[in-house]
């Protein structure tokens, strides 16, 4: 037991995927099993870490024993732990799904291509996981840059995995954007180091003062990260990249990868640059979010391809996250907004992954993903449709889903601080979301005279999608524990319980 309590679990969440990456690269035949095992192991490590954090509060781990400023510190507070948990859960589900999806029996096109995808999916995904976990744990902005690159390269390669024209073009665009983004971030890091001679987030938070250096650094880093997390109008690369990848990859990219860079954004705005950010800047990000919600939703209502619809919904949903910046500027409701935003990430991760997997099943069964042609399929795959529906419920924010709880908190923050514009926007966004979800679901009820010729969809693939969707809904009923975790070491002060309990401010 004591071992469980003392072992440095956070290290293993990085080392384990790295080792798995090596092994899956060397032993291709065993790759699927290795991958699933690694995902499970990672989940266990994260669970142990979460237990540690819940018991003993935030953890700091000086790698190499040097400690700041010379060395690199890892840090696991409530937020990091939640993010790790998110990646772990999604990771397990997607791994199980992928083990089947890339198997020879379910080769959509020729066997060679299927083998090729399988051979490279696993190591790439393992490195992606390592990058994610490393990123969530890093308290060192230069190390954040390294993890960003690790993440970016694996993400791009995965996006290109399908190999057809659209995927390659999308991946190329993605790579350029991602590199530009990280370069901007790196310059910001350099500026900060030049000014304060440290790259440790916590130390910098204490030192950073408003001024040309911090403003420029903030601007550069924010710009780069907005690009990477596809916030309107820098979202252009996302829909093709996510829509043309294999289903498990789309799920990973949409559910986790974009969140990673947004997570750094949160760390910067609410921790490192706490004293530097200004209300106008925050409102500007809010406006971007608003535009994202509207634009993404309208595109989702327009496009003809299912996976593209889901991808655009990601663009829209990322908009909600940006509403945090203006909402949290009011100290009274800051923590409510903060919790809402983080919970939104979790709910969206589950829902979006489920949705992409379900969409993948439909595309797999039909051999295409034109929404217009879905009539027969949805009735052939009731479970996947259910998954899609449940995920949709959470995306729309209907009770009792996780999305609802998140929206509830965001709305509460908006109304309690009298920021009505954002509140109304969120409601409008929900209705639009309902619109594009129904675009798909209506096909579950259309009459089909002739049964279409369909590929068989393996049980595993249907159940993993359904499982994630159910989780997305259940998140609404078990919010207490995650939010308790979130309080630990939260950079946003829980300005009096009043903010949570309600009461005008």
């Amino acid at each position: 037991m004591t071992f469980l309590e003392t072992a440095p679990w956070m290290i293993w969440t990085v080392l384990l995927p790295l080792c798995a990456g090596i092994c899956t690269f060397l032993f291709q035949r065993a790759a699927p099993w290795l991958g699933v095992a690694a995902a499970l192991g990672n989940a266990l490590a994260v669970a142990a870490l979460a237990a540690q954090v819940l018991r003993g509060g935030s953890l700091r781990y000086p790698v190499g024993g040097w400690g700041v400023p010379l060395g690199i510190d890892l840090r696991a507070d409530g937020l990091s732990t939640l993010m790790l948990a998110m990646s772990a859960v999604i990771g397990v589900a997607v791994s199980v799904y992928a083990a089947r999806y890339f198997s020879d029996e379910d080769a959509e096109d020729d066997l060679e291509a299927q083998r090729h995808k399988r051979a490279y999916f696993w190591p790439l995904w393992m490195f992606l996981l390592a990058g994610l976990n490393g990123l969530f744990l890093s308290a060192d902005i230069f190390h954040l840059y390294v993890t960003l690159e690790l993440l970016g390269f694996s993400a791009v390669s995965l996006a290109a995995l399908a190999g057809q024209r659209a995927a390659l073009v999308a991946a190329m665009r993605y790579l350029l954007v991602s590199l530009l983004g990280s370069l901007c971030f790196l310059f910001g890091v350099a500026l900060l180091y030049a000014a304060y001679a440290t790259v440790d987030v916590t130390t910098l938070a204490g030192l950073a003062k408003a001024g040309p250096i911090t403003w420029t650094a903030l601007g550069l880093m924010t710009g780069g990260l907005l690009m990477k997390s596809a916030v309107f109008p820098l979202h252009f690369w996302l829909p093709p990249a996510h829509a043309n990848a294999p289903a498990p990859v789309s799920a990973l990219l949409s559910a986790l990868v974009v969140k990673a860079s947004f997570y750094i954004l949160l760390r910067l705005w609410f921790e490192l640059f706490r004293g530097v950010v200004t209300l106008p800047a925050a409102n500007f990000l809010g406006l971007l979010g608003a535009a994202a919600i509207l634009w993404g939703s309208f595109q989702a209502l327009r496009v003809r391809r299912l996976k593209l619809l889901v991808a655009y919904s990601t663009v829209a949903q990322l908009g909600y996250l940006c509403l945090l910046f203006p909402l949290a500027q009011n100290a009274g409701v800051a923590f409510t907004a903060w919790s809402g935003c983080i919970y939104f990430m979790l709910a969206h991760a589950c829902a979006k992954a489920a949705m992409f997997l379900a969409a993948g099943n439909m595309a797999h069964a039909a051999g295409h993903d034109r929404i217009a042609g879905l009539d027969g399929i949805t009735q052939a795959l009731p479970l996947s449709v259910t998954a899609f529906m449940l995920a949709g419920i959470s995306l729309i924010g209907l009770p009792p889903s996780g999305g609802f709880i998140a929206k509830w908190m965001l709305l509460k923050a908006a109304i309690a601080s009298g920021q009505w514009g954002w509140a109304l926007l969120m409601l409008a966004g929900s209705l639009l979301a309902a619109g594009y979800v129904m675009r798909v679901l209506r096909h579950a009820f259309t009459q089909v005279d002739k049964a279409l010729p369909l590929h068989r969809v393996p049980r595993t693939m249907e159940w993993t999608a359904a499982g994630l969707a159910v989780l997305a809904v259940l998140l609404g009923l078990m919010a207490a524990r995650p939010l308790a975790l979130l309080r630990i070491g939260a950079p946003v002060a829980d300005a009096a319980v009043a903010a949570v309990e309600g009461g005008p401010r």
């Binding site: 309902a434 009459q447 949570v500």
Partner: protein, 498 residues
């Protein structure tokens, strides 16, 4: 975790689990599915029965689950919720019987009955909600579980009706959510309770609470089909007859009306509402809806469409009764919650039978139908006369108390409304009866089913007869202790603290 706690949960689960299981049944497992349906339904009735006794002796059942700090999911059974639960569970049992018969041989029955059960669970949840947020949750669940039923037939028309249903109800839900959050920020977590808990807040934030009230009513008015939010209801009649019964009598419309009642009595408290001066406008809207609905019904040739508009008008009697200050009017409104349900479901069952057995959908095709289907039309007649308010039927009781209540409250104009609406009711229902009984059949029926032992399938014939009987009973035995009226008296006494 005592028994009370579990009782409520069981009442919810009795239909919810049935629904979930049914989803996974394969299409051909008719017997098992029917068995499960009836099992769940009767189980619910029994459990509710057990609860009624307790509530009557002032016992309050409650169970809660914390979603967020300061945000609880609360199930509570007080007199008011029992009224609605009892209604919906009894009618669900009957409707299930009817639906089993009605959908014989139709496709996608597992899906249908699955959502059917979920829908009723949602209604039960609405009835048992102990605070606004819980209410909201089940209210939205109701919306979601009803869409598949409305769109069930899968024709373009059905899908369009379903889409509009969603557009209306989800927008309503959005308003409701907005109001709920706002109220939450102003007054913290407010629970439903006799006389309401907002008296203090009303003094501090009068204007806000008035706006919130408007939002709430707008959100609930969509389902309660208050004009001008009623648009979805007439379209939704493309759904199969059992669904119409569900929409109009058991679940959806009722949930809206019940919500309004809850908001006025147990959230704001009728006195606070009076103090805020929000009741007269509400009464006005209700009155207008009553007249408008009846007037529109007059010009519908399609039978179900005519009935749909009559629902629009009839449901507003409930709202009207609530909006008039005073225990007697409240009596009229609340009791109509039950009576309208009984009468309207009878009418829809009969309409369904006509369509099934004879393919008769239009009033103009009904000449002489009484001779062909005497039992069905007898039930229809009872329902129709009840609607018009002919003593000693249920409808009369409601209108009587509404009228006297209005007089006591000094709102004489209500009498006019009642008179006009009754006249209109007569105008759009009596011709049907006349055609059915006193006219000769012209030509063959549009699509006659081969005649069986009875005028139509037994499972279709029994339900309307039962409900018609209830209509009769509710009127004749109005003064019996456990009659709807008796129970409602209990409620209004408690609400007005008499």
């Amino acid at each position: 975790m005592n028994l009370d706690h579990w009782l409520l949960v069981f009442i919810l689960l009795s239909s919810f689990t049935t629904g979930l299981i049914i989803f996974f049944l394969d299409e051909e497992a008719h017997r098992l599915r029917t068995f499960l349906n009836l099992l769940g339904a009767s189980l619910k009735v029994i459990l509710v029965g057990a609860m009624i006794a307790g509530v009557h002796s002032n016992h309050v059942y409650e169970s809660r689950l914390t979603l967020l700090p300061g945000l609880d999911l609360v199930l509570r059974a007080d007199a008011m919720s029992v009224l609605f639960v009892a209604l919906s569970s009894v009618l669900w049992l009957v409707t299930t019987l009817y639906a089993v018969g009605y959908l014989e041989g139709a496709p996608h029955r597992s899906r249908f009955f699955g959502f059917f059960s979920i829908c009723v669970s949602a209604t039960t949840g609405v009835a048992l909600s102990g605070n606004l947020i819980t209410f909201l949750i089940f209210y939205e669940l109701l919306t979601l579980s009803t869409y598949p039923l409305v769109a069930h037939r899968g024709t373009e028309k059905a899908l369009k009706a379903g889409r509009n249903y969603l557009i209306y109800t989800l927008s309503g839900g959005a308003l409701l959510l907005l109001a709920t959050v706002w109220l939450h920020t102003l007054a913290g977590p407010v629970e439903f309770s006799l006389g309401g808990k907002l008296g203090q807040a009303a003094l501090e934030h009068g204007t806000e609470l008035t706006i919130i009230f408007a939002l709430l009513i707008a959100g609930l008015g969509v389902k309660a089909a208050l004009v001008p939010l009623h648009g979805w209801l007439p379209q939704a009649m493309v759904a199969p007859a059992p669904v119409s019964a569900l929409l109009h009598a058991v679940a959806v419309v009722k949930a809206g009306a019940f919500g309004i009642v809850r908001v006025v009595y147990d959230l704001y408290g009728v006195r606070t509402a009076q103090y805020l001066g929000v009741l007269p406008p509400l009464a006005a809207v209700a009155a207008f809806t009553i007249v408008y609905g009846s007037a529109r019904a007059l010009f519908q040739d399609d039978l179900k469409r005519r009935l749909a508009f009559s629902t629009v008008s009839q449901v507003s009697f409930i709202v009207l009764g609530t909006a008039i200050f005073g225990p007697v009017a409240a009596l009229g409104g609340l009791v109509h919650l039950v009576h309208q349900g009984l009468m309207k479901i009878t009418l829809f069952f009969c309409a369904g039978n006509l369509a099934e057995a004879l393919g008769v959908h239009k009033v103009s095709e009904m000449a002489g139908v009484g001779k062909r289907m005497p039992w069905t039309m007898a039930a229809f007649t009872i329902g129709a006369l009840g609607m018009i308010g002919v003593p000693p039927l249920a409808g009369f009781v409601s209108k009587w108390y509404l009228g006297t209540g209005a007089v006591l409250a000094g709102d004489y104009w209500v009498l006019a409304v009642l008179a006009v609406s009754s006249a209109l009711n007569a105008a759009y229902l009596l011709p049907i009866l006349h055609a059915a009984w006193f006219q000769e059949q012209q030509g063959p029926w549009p699509r006659e089913e081969t005649r069986g032992r009875w005028e139509t399938r037994g499972m279709l014939l029994l339900p309307p007869l039962i409900t018609a009987g209830l209509v009769l009973g509710a009127g004749l035995l109005a003064n019996a202790p456990f009659s709807p009226l008796g129970w409602v008296r209990l409620i209004s006494d408690r609400e007005y603290g008499l």
